[in-house]
């Protein structure tokens, strides 16, 4: 995107977040200035974020050197990696650590340019075994047990 769109979109998103926080904080007790309630600080933060976002919107409109970022071309490889991480997170509580770890690593190694399916599988297996030994055996971390339900 060689335009002002990314900067404008970001400022708008933060404006929505700031406004959202302000709106939700209105439901909390406000108290008085002498005995402030839990709403006071979030309300101030909401105002600060909204004001800065409006300034950001104006700046994005007049910026001489706008942000150049195209998610379709720049973000292709990162998107594959994010998808692999999401898959890892979804599978972890259902099938335990080993299979999601192998899958994630196979994809990560490919994204970063390692050739050969069997080589990737070998590396992923060794690293998974090392992680299980380090974290489960030595440090006593309990990975989720498989529930086998989808």
């Amino acid at each position: 995107m060689n335009s002002r769109a990314p900067g404008l979109a970001a400022a708008l998103m933060f404006l929505v977040i700031g406004g959202g926080q302000f709106y939700m904080a209105l439901d909390l007790p406000r108290g008085t200035l002498a005995e402030p309630g839990p709403a006071v600080f979030p309300l101030l933060v909401g105002v600060l974020m909204s004001a800065a976002s409006i300034a950001g919107l104006v700046r994005a409109l007049v910026e001489r050197d706008p942000v150049h970022f195209d998610l379709r071309t720049d973000g292709a490889r990162p998107a594959v990696l994010v998808a692999a991480l999401v898959a890892f997170l979804l599978l972890l509580p259902r099938v335990g650590f080993i299979l999601p770890s192998l899958l994630l690593q196979m994809i990560t190694l490919q994204v970063f340019g390692m050739r050969g399916l069997w080589r990737r599988l070998a590396v992923a297996s060794v690293t998974t075994a090392a992680a299980v030994f380090l974290f489960e055996t030595l440090l006593g971390v309990q990975f989720p047990t498989p529930s086998w339900t989808f």
Partner: protein, 493 residues
Amino acid sequence: MNAVDGILFGFSVALEWRNLLACFIGVLIGTVVGVLPGIGPVGAMALLLPATYALTPAGALIMLAGIYYGSMYGGSTTAILLKVPGEVSSVITCIDGYEMARQGRAGPALFVAAIGSFAAGTVGVIGLAFVGPLLSRAALTFGPPEYFALCLLGLMILSRLTDSTLSRAIIMVATGLALSTIGMEPMSGTSRFTFGFLKLAQGIDLVPIAMGMFGVAELLVMAEQKLKTETPISVRVRELLPTKEDWQRSWRPITRGSVMGFLFGLVPGPTAMIATFASYALERKLSRHPEQFGKGAIEGVAGPEAANNGAAQGAFIPLLTLGIPFAPASAMLLTALLIHGVQTGPLMMVNNPEVFWGVVSSMYVGNFMLLVLNLPLVGVFVALLRLPMYLIANIVALLCLVGTYAISNSLLDIWVLLISGVAGYLLRKLRFEPAILVLALALGPILERSFLQSLYLVQGEWMEIFQRPITAGMLITGLVVLVAPALLRLVRR
């Protein structure tokens, strides 16, 4: 306990074999993290947090602090041999360090960088030992309004010291503060913005956010750029020693850089990087041969390398004496201290002298270890750089996930890690500075608590907060920092 007694007591703590081992592991991991791209010192500190549960509070902090200043050493190796800064604070070393390496003088460049870092470490320890108690005593007079003003001052300075525009920096501050409001309110215990998740009542943990913003986001950037493994310039141990002329040209920049770095470290923000740029500019100005800068001037390595380590040591002062983190790495140390039940602030020196003085003295021990470790083993660290990028990325990805999960066996934490990783990547692309967000998240609870306590204290007469001299002084300083650049621009027109 005076400073000398404190340092001696600290050495008795730092030289216990468990703490020595913790220090060694810390500086070793720090060096590796500094050499390799991907995870960074903050991510590495977050990863090792669970491993510190078995240690004493002093041991935990000694190890985590070792990672931080160890990474400053490691970052210079790649800057000199590859022209790739392992850490942002080594960017300036790339200029003359790499030129020296190309001219076959990589050894002296590495040696001077190591000696400069060691000298800065020494200055830092002395500074910590003498300035720390003074600041702690001064901080005992601080009430909630002063803490409120100090946190605000920190955030104001931070907003101005980064590359972001002011509006982007304030958005990051507000986002960090907004995240810090999730969970229980500090005064009444009212639950806020938890969206039905019971775990969110405890608030958003700093660790998954920091790991996401610094670890996962870096991984996504690396994936986008498809970084390749570079071949570093080789260096032999016998080629390390500098000549007599190198020494003569280096000792003054090292001294100036050490003091300058330490002073910069006291200020919030990415001061280690700024200190290196300031040191480089100063040395160039003072040099009899400014034309050699950029073509392999040893002063251009000596000064900045001392400055970045000095700043790393100086950054511990606000944390250890006031309990306020002014850098993401300090925020991680604060998290570790809280996990270990150590109350930070001006009374830490009295209530937990073994932690305060143990950490201060361990920095000297750690800097000595780094000197002994890094010079003879430079070949080993260089060999790490020959590891294929896919292996490094793969290990970083797995460590981020499992390391975050290991902290509290929570799947929610890994989701937070992933979301903040993606957010961190997008923020970088959109020229926002995620470090500000992380620091605001760490400062948020302190800021809110001191703000609410201040209002209670003055019975709602809020103007009284600004009539206290220290509070007023800090807030005026902050406002000047915020508006001065805009005013200067107006004046120039």
